[in-house]
Amino acid sequence: MEYELRDHTADVAVAATGDTLEAVFAATADGLAAASRDDEPPSDVGDRFSVSVTAEGREALLFDYLDELIYLRDVRSELPVDNRVERIRRDDDGDERWTLEASARGIPLSEIVARDVKAVTYSEMRVERVGGGWEVYVVFDV
C-alpha cells in the first residue's frame, strides 16, 4: 500500500493504492497525515486509539472515515498516523450498510509542526478496483 500527494490548484489531493480495500483506505489516511505535517513524525511517540465508522456506501465510508480522523485530530489534539484499517464489512439486509474498524497512533500536536487540513471533499473522489487491487483519489480542502 502506498500514497502520493498530487497537485491541485488550491488544495491537496491524495492518490493511494492497496491490495485490499482496507489497505487502500489506510494508505489514504496516511496521505492525509502527510499533507498535515512538515517532517516525518517521531516513531516512538503517541498511543494508538481505535476508530469505527458506518456508512451507506463505499465512497461514503471513505468520506466518513477521513472526516472522523479530522474530527478526532481536533478534539484529541493529536495527528493520527500509522493508520491501520482492520476490517471493512458490507451488510446487505435490505439497505446497503458498510462498517469500518480502524486504529491510528495519535501524535500530540504539541510535539510536531502540523498544519490544518480543513476537510475531506467528494470532489473528483474515486474508489476503484484496478487489476487485482484498489485505487483511491481524494481532494482535501486546506
Binding site: 498530487r6 488550491a10 488544495d11 498535515s36 481536533d74 504539541s110 490544518d116
Partner: protein, 488 residues
Amino acid sequence: MSDVTFDADDVTLERVSEFVWEIPREGEMRVPARVLASEALLEEIKEDKTLEQIRNTTHLPGITKYAICMPDGHQGYGFPVGGVGAMDAEDGCISPGSVGYDINCGVRMMRTNLTYDDLNGRERELVDSLFANVPSGLGGGGIVESGVDTVDEILARGVDWALENGHAVEDDLLHCEDEGMREEADPDAVSQKAKDRGKNQIGSLGSGNHFLEVQRVTDVFDDEIGEAFGLEEDQIVVLIHCGSRGLGHQTCNDYLRKIERQHKGLLDRLPDKELAAAPAGSQLAREYYGAMNAAINFAWVNRQLIMHRTRRVFERVFDRSWEEMEMELLYDVAHNIAKKEVHDVDGEQRELYVHRKGATRAFPAGHPEVPRAYRTVGQPVIIPGSMGAGSYVLRGGERSMDLTFGSTAHGAGRLMSRTQAKNEYWGGDVQDELEGQQGIYVKAQSGATVAEEAPGVYKDVDEVVRVSDALGIGDKVARTFPVCNIKG
C-alpha cells in the same frame, strides 16, 4: 454580443462586453455562465477546471440570470472559488458546497493612527509579540477556551457575546456586516461534533492562506472615499484573514452528508457531488441555513477576538492605549457565505439565496444593507493580496447589482498548486527574501506554509482589481503593503 470568442480547450467563451465573457446555455445548463476577466486572467483561469466548474454550477435548481466567475476565480470543489450563484429562495435551493467548508471565511481591517515611521525599527518586536499572542496553526488553542455552553452563546449572538464579555466595544458592531450577528442563526442545527471542534479554537487563525498582517497604506486612489474610510497614505492598518475553523468545516460536511442521504434524487441529477443542494423550503434547507448563520456568527467572533488581542499587543509594544492609537474596525467582509437577499431579476424583485464562494459582497452607495457609517459612499470591500504584494480596499461599485448580484473578487487567486510551490520554494528562503528585499517580517508555525503561500503562487492582484474597477463592481480606494505577517 460581439463575435469575439476565447477558446479554452473544450469551452468557447463569447465576449459580451469588455471583461465580460459568456459560456452560452446548452444541454442541462439552466442559465448561461459568465466569467469576468481580462484576456490575461482568462489565460490563467483556463489552465485548471474553473470553467468546467462554473458551467456545472448552472445546473443547480432555481439558479437565476447566470452563474458568475470573478476575475480571481480558480478551481475549487464543486463550485469554483471566485463563484457567485443566486438561487430562488422559494423554488430554488441552498448548497453547502457552494458556500465552502470554511463558512464566513473573511477579512477585516483595523485602522490605527500610527504611521510607518512609528513602526520603523520595531517590526521584529511587533511580529514576535503578535506571533506569541495570537494562536495559529494546528492545535494552537484559542484566545478563549471554554465549554459547549459558551459556543452555543457565540453561535446565537455573535459579536454581541464578545461585547458582553469584554472582547469588543460598541463601535466594533457598527462597523461589521449585520452588526456582527445573524438573526437567523440556529445553534441547535449545529452538531455536537462541530461544537466540540470549535470550543478550543475560539480566537485562532488556523493555517493555510489565513494570516494576520500589519500593513502600511501606500496609495489612496480616491481621496473622498479614502477619507470616509479613514485611510491616508503611510498610515498603519491591520488585516485579519480567517474563518469559522473546525466548527464551520464540520458543519459543511455534516450537511453535505445529510443532503446525500435525504435528497439523493436531486443529487444524482447534478454533475458534481460537491454541488449537493437542499431544495428551498425543505426541512434540511431551513436547518442548513440556521446552522450556516450560526457558523457565520462564530467566525465573526473569531476575527473579533483576534482583533481585540491585537489591540493589546500594540498597547504593550507602543506603550500607549489602543484608544489613543485609534485602533478602530474599518470593516469586516465575508467571502464564503450564502445570504437571503432581494435582487432584481428581469424587472422582478425576488428573494434569492446568493452564494458567494471566494467572492465578496460589494453593495453600492445608498443600498439599505450597507451599514449607516458607509451608506453614502458604498460598502468597503477588502481584497487581501499575497505576502509580497499589496492588498486593496475597494468600495461597492454602481454596476455590481446589475452584473454580479452585488459582488466582486476576494483576493489574488491561486496560480500554482501547493505541492508545486513546495518544490519551487523553501520557506526559509522566502522569509529571508521578503525581509531583506522588501522589509516584510514573516513569522509562521510551518515553513511549508510559507513556501505554499509564497508571492509567486498567486495571480496578479493588481490585474484582478483593475478588472473589478473597470467593470464598476468594486472601485479602487486604497492599496496597502505588508510590514509584518504571521500565519499558521
